[in-house]
């Protein structure tokens, strides 16, 4: 039996999970100023100065073509570490950490709000469904560009 912990965040009406081992920190928006970078794909919100490190911010709503929402107090930046580089994900809010056993996973439904390619599986706790995001695939990018243009 293998247990894994996931950071749960919300985007629109759904909840998504990120493997906790990939997450290096979670930041409130007001502590950081996002600088727009010209000529980047639309889903790039900009860059932030994270203690001297330049970190690009990916707007997940825009990335998954979910309707736009103004940034507010609940908005969080989840910083993930991929290939030893930090990348920030802009999400609606972060709620809690949840533990799943792999047996609890079910395959992703075919029709859902976002592209099911990026979902590793669906974790269930009672009635609650958490879509587990395949972050490596999401950020591994050849098809990112098509979406951005």
């Amino acid at each position: 039996m293998t247990e894994k912990q996931y950071v749960v965040f919300s985007l629109g009406s759904e909840e998504y999970g990120l493997n906790i081992l990939k997450v290096s920190e979670i930041n409130r928006l007001k502590e950081l100023e996002i600088t727009n970078v010209p000529q980047t794909p639309s889903y790039i919100e900009g860059i932030i100065n994270l203690r001297g490190d330049v970190v690009p911010i990916l707007n997940l709503r825009r990335r998954f073509a979910i309707q736009h929402k103004e940034l507010d107090k609940q908005t969080r930046i989840v910083v993930v570490k991929i290939d030893s580089k930090n990348i920030g994900l802009l999400v609606d809010s972060v709620s809690h950490v949840v533990t799943f056993e792999e047996e609890e996973f079910s395959p992703p439904p075919e029709e859902m709000a976002i592209d099911s390619n990026y979902i590793m599986g669906v974790g269930k706790k009672g009635k609650r469904m958490v879509f587990l995001l395949d972050i490596d695939k999401l950020l591994n990018t050849s098809d990112n560009l098509k979406r951005g243009k």
């Binding site: 970078v37 010209p38 000529q39 860059i47 100065n49 490190d53």
Partner: protein
């Protein structure tokens, strides 16, 4: 497996040391091959091979140990003159070096080397055992050549040339330190020379710079008049230097007809010095050779540089705060103290930055040294005779840049050898020298490092390129007619572009030059080609000294701040209301600026980057920038001042398949004093569009 633990201190030390030794042996071998080696070179190789053997035995890498052992045997036969050096022997050595390299490569990955070296070792052992050379063409060592030169009979016009020591000189030499070499020199002066005594004095004076003069003949040369001075002047010198140096030293003086040099005694220190003296010697050496360098993990220096970068940012912020405080609380005592301190902090910051940057500087030698071997192998493969000249390898450049230079330079050199040079037969027909010359030159120019690769091969055929361009549909014929030769030549940097008739395993696929260009522009560098059909081709690569901290002009557009590197700025101007119409013209879709009677294209920075759309008719700031021969006028909204900025690379995120995609016109970002970002404008890509 414990043996292959890369993180082990001794393991990494072993790897580093053997790597240096392998490289050194390779350089020595090339010297030998070029006929520039001496017995000392052989001894040098011997020492390296021996320490590799020792080190690999300690670490338990048997293959390496066995191979170095065999090479050592071969070397000792050469040293004892039982075997002489020929092409065959050298090739064996080169193979041996390749063997070492393979093992080294696997070991650096922490793997066991799977290459079978038995055949090679056997081949070496056989030659050692038989003690016979397979080829008759001996490659002479320098020492051997020199003695041959002297034994030649072309000195009959001077009867009394005596290159042996006479009795009196022998007596004088007995007391000379055995560690020094003794040379007898005979100088034949031009018979028309005036003031021979002065010449002789100059020669002796020069020679005293490299050693001790034991005897001269005539002894009292300084007092002799021209009539009494015979044309021969003899000197015995004790020195550490080799023939070449002595020769050069004397030859720098004019009106000398001939110079004869013979080594009459070699240095014998290691063999003959009694033990007790040796100890004294060692101590002396120890005192002289104070440890002046240490090895440092690169990561530590990088971290230091990052910290300095942060410090510079804070320093700029501190200066801003200081200025504001001065305005606000003018005359306050504390403020005055602060104002007095700030310049010192600025000074320390600059010094600190320069020092740390200088620790990151490496000489181009580190990459240049790997090329002679490559050129040698390739020219053998292509059956071309090439004289490879390296100049200015002591030129220093940031190590971050140096690492990125290996691939581009390799590509260009390979191209030059494979299809830059004609075959020997073709060169004969064209009445060129049979041996082609390939030059690799490094030098400083202003704030740049310039690397040139020049060949005297067939050059680039413009017509050929035009044909290919049209064939590949890159441009129409009419379009090409409007382009200069230089612009047409730039097509060779297009992906997939190759004029080679056939694809060889060395080049011709058209990938190379495209990669070269991308790599160079990634480094903020510029590459140019100059070529003349039939005469040769020259690639000129200009690189910044460093990538980390630059001086820049900050400009404001809407909410964004942009930084223009000072090095690309030619002039900054302000146009008044009535001048705008006069100087800015609209031609078709383009705006041009009348700059020193030259119409140059205009880029409105704010609009180009979509940062602001506002246009004023009142006054306009214009920044004229240049990139190679191109000039552009940037119209900017607000000038925020000049400042040192720390470049933060976004290289990991920018590029064709990367997260941020290709960002045209921006090369990176910089963090400003207030923690905000400024986008660094990439003039090169701006001017390309």
């Amino acid at each position: 497996m414990d043996k292959f633990n890369i993180n082990d201190v001794y393991y990494s030390m072993f790897l580093e040391e053997t790597k240096e030794q392998i490289e050194k042996i390779e350089q020595d071998l090339l010297l030998l091959e070029n006929g520039q080696g001496s017995m000392e070179t052989i001894n040098d190789i011997f020492r390296m091979a021996h320490s590799i053997k020792g080190a690999s035995a300690t670490m338990g890498f048997e293959d390496m140990e066995r191979l170095s052992h065999s090479l050592e045997n071969l070397l000792s036969k050469i040293r004892d003159k039982e075997i002489y050096i020929d092409v065959n022997i050298l090739n064996l050595f080169f193979k041996g070096i390749d063997g070492f390299k393979h093992i080294h490569q696997s070991l650096s990955k922490g793997e066991e080397c799977l290459i079978d070296l038995n055949d090679l070792i056997e081949e070496i052992d056989q030659i050692v055992e038989s003690g016979k050379n397979l080829s008759k063409e001996q490659i002479l060592l320098d020492d051997e050549k020199a003695s041959e030169l002297n034994s030649r009979d072309d000195i009959h016009d001077i009867e009394d040339v005596e290159l042996e020591l006479d009795d009196h000189e022998k007596e004088l030499c007995e007391n000379i330190d055995l560690g020094l070499k003794l040379y007898k020199i005979i100088i034949v002066m031009d018979s028309n020379t005036k003031m021979k005594a002065v010449k002789a004095f100059l020669i002796v004076n020069n020679l005293m710079g490299i050693g001790d003069i034991v005897a001269t003949n005539p002894i009292d040369f300084e007092q002799l008049s021209d009539e009494d001075f015979e044309n021969l002047f003899k000197i015995v010198i004790a020195t550490h230097s080799e023939y070449e140096e002595i020769y050069k030293n004397i030859n720098s003086i004019s009106e000398i007809e001939k110079i004869f040099i013979k080594k009459v005694r070699d240095s014998k220190k290691q063999v003959k010095t009694p033990k007790n003296v040796k100890i004294v010697e060692k101590q002396e050496n120890f005192n002289k050779k104070k440890i002046s360098t240490i090895r440092i993990d690169v990561n530590k220096i990088d971290k230091l540089l990052n910290l300095v970068g942060e410090f510079i940012i804070d320093k700029e912020a501190l200066n801003q705060i200081g200025d504001e405080l001065k305005r606000k609380y003018k005359g306050d005592d504390l403020i005055r103290k602060l104002a007095a301190m700030l310049p010192h902090i600025n000074y320390i910051g600059t010094e600190l930055q320069e020092t740390v940057m200088s620790t990151r500087m490496l000489s181009l030698e580190h990459i240049f040294n790997r090329f002679p071997r490559m050129v040698r192998d390739l020219s053998q493969k292509c059956e071309k005779d090439i004289n490879f000249v390296i100049e200015g390898k002591e030129t220093e450049i940031d190590r971050g840049i140096i690492e990125e230079l290996v691939d581009p330079l390799t590509h260009i050199l390979r191209n030059a050898i494979d299809h830059g040079f004609e075959t020997i037969a073709e060169r004969k027909i064209k009445q060129k020298e049979e041996v082609g010359t390939l030059k690799l030159i490094g030098k400083h120019e202003e704030n740049n490092v310039v690397i040139e690769i020049e060949d005297d091969g067939k050059g680039i055929d413009i017509e050929n390129i035009k044909k290919k361009v049209i064939e590949r549909n890159l441009a129409r014929e009419e379009e090409l007619q409007n382009l200069s030769d230089r612009e047409i030549m730039n097509y060779i940097f297009e992906p997939g572009f190759s004029t080679a008739k056939e694809v060889t395993d060395i080049s011709g696929r058209g990938v190379g030059l495209n990669v070269v260009k991308e790599n160079i522009s990634k480094l903020n560098g510029i590459i140019e080609i100059k070529s003349e059909k039939g005469i040769g081709t020259k690639f000129i690569i200009k690189l910044p000294l460093t990538l980390a901290i630059i001086q820049a002009l900050l400009i404001g557009e809407g909410n964004c701040t942009f930084a223009i590197p000072i090095t690309s700025i030619i002039e900054t101007l302000r146009l008044k209301e009535d001048e705008i119409g006069e100087k800015i013209h609209v031609v078709g879709d383009f705006e041009v600026f009348d700059w020193r009677d030259q119409a140059i294209p205009i880029v409105r920075i704010g609009e180009y980057f979509g940062a602001s759309r506002e246009r004023t008719n009142k006054k306009v700031f214009i920044v004229v920038v240049g990139y190679s021969e191109k000039r552009f006028a940037l119209i900017v909204n607000k000038l925020l001042g000049e400042q040192e900025i720390v470049i933060k690379s976004m290289g990991a995120f920018i590029g064709r398949d990367k997260l941020l995609g290709n960002i045209k016109g921006i090369s990176g970002v910089s963090v400003l004093g207030d923690g905000k970002f400024a986008h660094i404008v990439d003039i090169a890509s701006l001017t390309r569009s």
